[in-house]
Point group: C2
Amino acid sequence: MSKYQNEEEVILNYNSNKYITPDGYTSDIAIFTITNVEEEINNYKKKKALKIMLIQRAELDAEGEPNIEGGKWALPGGFVQPNETAYEAAKRELSEETGVSGVHLKHFGVYDKPGRDRRGWIISNAHYAIVPEFHLEKRIAADDAAEVELFTIDEAFNLDLAFDHRAIITEAINNIKRDMLQTNVAKEFLSSVFTVSELQQVLLAVYYHKSIESDNFFKKIKNLPFIERVSNKDIKTQRNSKRPATLYRFIEEEDNEIASKYF
Amino acid sequence: MSKYQNEEEVILNYNSNKYITPDGYTSDIAIFTITNVEEEINNYKKKKALKIMLIQRAELDAEGEPNIEGGKWALPGGFVQPNETAYEAAKRELSEETGVSGVHLKHFGVYDKPGRDRRGWIISNAHYAIVPEFHLEKRIAADDAAEVELFTIDEAFNLDLAFDHRAIITEAINNIKRDMLQTNVAKEFLSSVFTVSELQQVLLAVYYHKSIESDNFFKKIKNLPFIERVSNKDIKTQRNSKRPATLYRFIEEEDNEIASKYF
DNA sequence: CTAATAGTGTCTATAAGACACTATATA
DNA sequence: TATATAGTGTCTTATAGACACTATTAG
């Protein structure tokens, strides 16, 4: 009556062809950095700006055939291997693309709308990563420069973007904005010790708000439970001004994700 | 030299077998409801509790063979079809499982760790849904009762759960907690008009906090920009007490997702 | 001295929390 | 009358924001 005696045998005889399966499972990464700029917008001196790294798809693929969405700008990414998660694939691809590991990487969405990729049923896991500018500049210099570039957000949205990457980038920015205000990811854009105005400029680069720009920000910083001034009161820096500035650091917490609601 | 002249031809000849592809793409749903209870925990009278609907996997499958993870309790779900997104599949499955549509449904994670399903490389999209108790009771009564049940969260974690559903349920609860405090999903657990104490009990069922339990909650409610008392001052209800209580409703907003930070 | 960045002091309005109090119904 | 839920008043303390002010350096 029953063909198989137990679960083991059933698994050995399991045939996934009973179901229609996807044609591809991929990970894409919106790689962000913050660069120094000189800009004055109605009395406020903007010193840092958020940028995204995009790659230009080749016109021809490895076999010399016309490439899908060739010539358009796209998020770096690639196919997930069966022995890894989408998150691990993103980590691997980030390392391949920029040579860095150990930086902030976060999954924020799945893009699986039928027809999003003309090659078939291809599912993309979207991640955003925060990489110090230094690493990206090395990467871009190493390349022949034409096909990897850093863009401001405005510039990126004026490009001809591949697939549904416009929507993915929009969501990536929404996520990074929210995380900047509700968690302590801001630290990923800063060196291990930083001045109040450096933190202020990083926040303003991603999310402009009067309360962040105001002088009051200096007082607020002293009351935040996850930021402390470096112990020795004489440790200061003059890298941003003639008057030496106090240095602060983020206190490591178990619960990084819910630092929340502070800025 | 080049086999194909243009992108069209390349797509027509695209062969997904160049890459290893997943063996299955599924959607699972943590279906939550809030039921009335009578319980007293150190001076605070708990009147509502969060519950989750789980199904017990059959011992034998449709062909009479031993079923994978048979006998264990699991989240309802199923395979995504190639003409729909994971979200649409979840909507369809929710409707098949409970007969309801138009309720709150949200994607919150992807589970794709190799080995999570012994049948192969199977990716699950996790969603949570909020369904009024009434519908679930109908569903459970219609079934032969043994294989669909409502559990409190504590009860659920004491069951033998299939696959990685323990981890999925844990994350579902984290997400619903956060959303209850930062958005106005609370309304999904309430009827269209409600009393202050009903809202209070719904919030307490998901996230206990002194400030919610306190009398001050009554004053707070009047200042929330997304809640209003129903227009006619005489419209009251006695369903919870002898003294008639004022009825309130949620004001519909475009930006439901960022009602944020109010409770 | 000036210019530039780094901070502080002070005032006001509002919100959060503790907790005692009053109100309206039924039985 | 007692009891249960509904709701208010008052006080204290903490915080947010506006905005004017002082501090420290280089040149």
